[in-house]
Symmetry: C2
Subunit: 155 residues, 2 copies
């Protein structure tokens, strides 16, 4: 049952997932507000996702996720989060811009890239002794001044 969702549908799942995490429940109007679309649009998405057994919805009631839907949503969210970290911590993009950009890129990266990016962070974090990895400190200087500080790496 390998779902092949459009990025639009992934966005709906992710939004429901987030609202449930933050508010405990998700409702049509909230989903619409978050995604900046009309409720009627949310309705047709919910209709489709319900048919795909990813979403649960009783008329005029709360919107939920099936086990499968929750799993998919969590996957998209993980991609979002690692991309946000990469953009802010690594490339030092400002958080508001990074947030928007992560929303777009999250649908475009593969499982493989997600895993590598995650591994890169764990590599960086624990492979360096400083609070903030030295590499990032040096890159920050380079971004600001254009000057590359010497870096000697030894095993």
């Amino acid at each position: 049952m390998a779902q092949n969702l459009t990025s639009t549908m992934e966005d709906y799942l992710e939004t429901i997932y987030e609202l449930k995490k933050v508010n405990g429940v998700a409702r049509v109007g909230e989903i619409a507000d978050k995604l900046k679309v009309k409720s009627s649009t949310v309705n047709s998405a919910i209709k489709y996702l319900t048919e795909q057994n990813l979403v649960l919805h009783e008329k005029y009631g709360y919107v939920g996720l099936t086990k499968e839907g929750d799993k998919l949503a969590a996957g998209v969210k993980s991609k979002h989060d690692i991309l946000f970290r990469f953009l802010t911590e690594f490339l030092m993009i400002n958080p508001e811009a990074a947030e928007k950009e992560a929303c777009c890129i999250e649908h475009a990266i593969s499982e493989e890239t997600f895993i590598r990016l995650t591994k890169f962070f764990s590599f960086l974090e624990k492979g360096f002794t400083d609070e903030k990895p030295k590499l990032l400190q040096l890159f920050e200087v380079y971004l600001k001044t254009g000057k590359r500080m010497k870096c000697n790496c030894e095993r």
Copy 2:
């Protein structure tokens, strides 16, 4: 005249740009083959892009880019290239997968992120003394063995 193109339209511009670079000219059928759509689909895209003054096209003839179209296409191509490098050189994703993925992500990254990524590469390349940056060598070991080699960085 800040163009606000869909990623689909960016793909058409980029494809024309590439075909011109490789073959000297671009034709409807070649664009269709590259993008895996039918010629009739290419036709309607060309119609739109011509109206936007981004593409030049004489019936039954070659397809070209205006100055503006060329500039936009080159921008998309640059994003593609830096993403491909990041995916292959940095995350060590295999070239075929990286190529496909770069095609998707290229439409989602901002100018700012493109610039930062470019700067990160120039920082990496010249800030380290080895043929291949030591950082990448260490990350490669980490990916294969899960072991982090010691790295002492000094200014």
